[in-house]
């Protein structure tokens, strides 16, 4: 197994940050490495250029009568700021207590490479795979996959899929096999709030001019009631209640209140009244501020009234909310609540629909057997709070459902400093891939 871990460490050394143009060549170098690794295993590989970062596709020799399985992953990663909070540098992977620390270790390089190494193991043992496999690896997941859907539409014929498999989610706890059957969607926008035409001296003008930061605070404060329920008109239209079988299954999971407190260091939770923290994060929609501000934020003071400030908003959506409808409602809310002394501009962001798949379908049952063989325990059925918009794209363009077989742990710190992935989970993923392809072939 050492060589599989070494391969992962190599993969993690590429700073393949997709959002920052200065890392473009790193993203490409990472795709080079992937091409070489996949073709070295005997797969036929192809790199497709997009307006952004390239898509890498690899296949075994497809044969009639075999099931078509498409395994998706992404080789791009999140930015690393604040870099000073990392124990070891984000792109110099470090193994401490059998846990790999590096940006991308959990999200998603570790999980995707487990599938690659599983396939490699099968090919080494059996020379062939029990299914027609297509690996589809993109380099733009962390910026919302802007070019993936066009790619799927253009190359649909080359991407046969009875089923999609993605490992880019989490396990509810160490050693607990986990099948994710629902994801929240997302809808983003930002608001540029504009006051005076230049930064003003707060002594000369302060008191007579609306400070755009005050306008921003007033707008921000209008979105939620004191307890945290979203006040945007129509926001909760179409939101479905959690089913009884889900509630029953979730009762057996570790306590999410305690888990969230431990993971985040927060002493007191906060959320929409009438729901527990599992429901808050898995089954209820949110309106969150991901970035807000302006003016002087450096050391010391600079007594200005800023000219412009920015507010970045993302909504997490649950079945069956529609991103376009939610964004429309949020825009109408902004129009209604923005103080009249400032002007503003809305900059649209990315969005993706929420997802729901039946975990008791034939494919779902095959996955459960593979999970049982790997982990020797019953599967936990969960939703996740994050968004994987491409799951919806796969459904719409390729006509296939997605099985989400997550391998990262709750404290994986995805998107945060000290992101990590245990060596054990990586090895379990390699095993799971082998059982899964066998089970799906039945």
């Amino acid at each position: 197994m050492t060589s599989a871990v070494d391969s992962l460490l190599e993969f993690l050394r590429f700073p393949s940050i997709s959002t920052d143009p200065k890392n473009n060549s790193d993203v490409r170098a990472c795709s080079d490495w992937l091409m070489k690794t996949l073709s070295g295993m005997g797969l036929s590989t192809e790199r497709y250029e997009t307006p952004g970062h390239p898509v890498v596709v690899a296949k075994n020799v497809h044969q009639k009568g075999k099931k078509n399985i498409l395994i998706y992953g992404h080789y791009d990663v999140q930015p690393v700021d604040p870099v000073n909070l990392w124990t070891t540098p984000p792109f110099e992977p470090s193994i401490r207590n059998k846990i790999i620390y590096a940006r991308g270790s959990a999200d998603n390089k570790g999980q995707m490479l487990a599938h690659v190494m599983g396939v490699k193991a099968t090919l080494e043992k059996h020379k062939e795979l029990p299914v027609n496999l297509t690996f589809l690896f993109e380099g733009e997941e962390e910026i919302g996959s802007p070019n993936l859907r066009p790619f799927l539409e253009k190359h649909k014929a080359e991407l046969p899929a009875d089923l999609i498999v993605i490992s880019d989610t989490g396990m509810v706890g160490p050693g607990i096999p986990t099948l994710t059957y629902s994801l929240r969607g997302i809808a983003c926008l930002e608001v540029l709030i504009k006051g005076p035409q230049m930064d003003l001296h707060s002594g000369v003008f302060g008191g007579a001019v609306m400070n755009p930061l005050l306008a921003m605070a007033r707008l921000m404060n209008s979105f939620h009631d004191p307890e945290g329920k979203v006040k945007v008109e129509g926001f909760y239209n179409n939101v479905k209640n959690v089913a009884d079988w889900e509630k029953a299954n979730w009762k057996n999971l570790p306590n999410s209140d305690e888990e969230i407190k431990t993971l985040t260091g927060v002493k007191k939770l906060f959320g929409e009244p009438g729901y527990n923290s599992r429901e808050h994060t898995w089954a209820r929609p949110t309106l969150e501020f991901n970035g807000a501000g302006g003016g002087y934020l450096g050391a010391g003071s600079k007594t200005v009234i800023p000219s412009q400030v920015i507010l970045k908003i993302s909504c997490r959506l649950v079945p069956e909310q529609k991103p376009a409808e939610v964004l429309k409602a949020v825009e109408a809310h902004i129009k209604k609540h923005m103080p009249s002394e400032v002007s503003y501009e809305i900059i649209p962001g990315h969005s993706g629909s929420p997802y729901y798949v039946d975990p008791f379908s034939d494919h779902g049952k095959a996955a459960q057997r593979a999970l049982q063989s790997t982990f020797h325990r019953e599967t936990a059925f969960i939703r996740e709070g994050g968004s994987i918009p491409i799951v919806q794209d796969f459904k719409e363009v390729l006509g296939a459902d997605t099985l989400l077989l997550g391998l990262s742990l709750p404290d994986c710190r995805a998107h945060s400093p000290d992101e990590n992935f245990p060596v054990e989970n990586y090895e379990q993923g390699i095993l799971l891939n082998q059982y899964l392809l066998q089970e799906l072939a039945k």
Copy 2:
């Protein structure tokens, strides 16, 4: 007069930016030039080293029985960014339509050199001055004069002063002689608002955890009522009403609503109800946000719940508010209104007392006569909204009041690109200095 203008152009060519260490030698070269100019006029000059930039002092031969007048100015200037917005380079003075464009032309080289050239003219005519004059020119005003108060304390005995004169403020309009008799004080602090121990994935945790940006918005929103009055308990204690004579005088000044709209590009003003924009900026205290925010503020989106966010607050104070008391009230307000789901830390900032001097004292009347002789118009009595903390230092250390006789115009663009100072204002300043010393000697 040509030679006086030439001297100013020479003076303006030094890029004496005090905040940037790479200009240290320019600041020194500028002080060399000043030393040479002052000693060339027959004054005894001395340069005092400080931990930062030097202080230049120049005196005539002091005689018993004459009044001691100290004229203060600063030879350092603000940075020039964004330099591409300058019509001509900031340190290559350009005269267009009889207006001098250069960094420092208004703030403060033009105004301070007018005093120097006024003294030069008097000495050329009369060989001596009617008063015991001390010029005190510092090179650190634009960075908050960190070494001036210690300097004053150390050299108090060498700085006799019955009165301080400073021209580093503005005229209400072209040709209108202006005496500033009150300045707002300042009290700053910042609040670090702390939520989860790291940035969180807003999909995984969103809905169950208080977002520090939401906490910040709630706090920000608690400081003012909807119309802009500050709601901090005790904030308006000690605030004096504007006197009837002030209101009567201010009625004759140009319309400040229109002036503020033109200068800032703001279409609709905003401020504490019951006061006009003159009063808002000159005579009412404010609580302003100079910087606020956190999370991801770069291009595109990063769907995080930030761990920490910052809020920078400055209050402008009016007579007779005390900075320490106001800060205490603001801190108590923060304690009361900070949502309990987050923790916080207060970082103290700088502060300075508001200033008020009687414009109808003997010195004030002398200044009015000098202004009348120079401009042939009645003096406008104004307050200013900004803070000049050294005025308070002069009062406390040297025991002298300050007359603020500003010479720059409202559109002088101090601290901004295309800073400017009309040749006429410079020449009026030279004349004013001559009348002023005569009147003060009476």
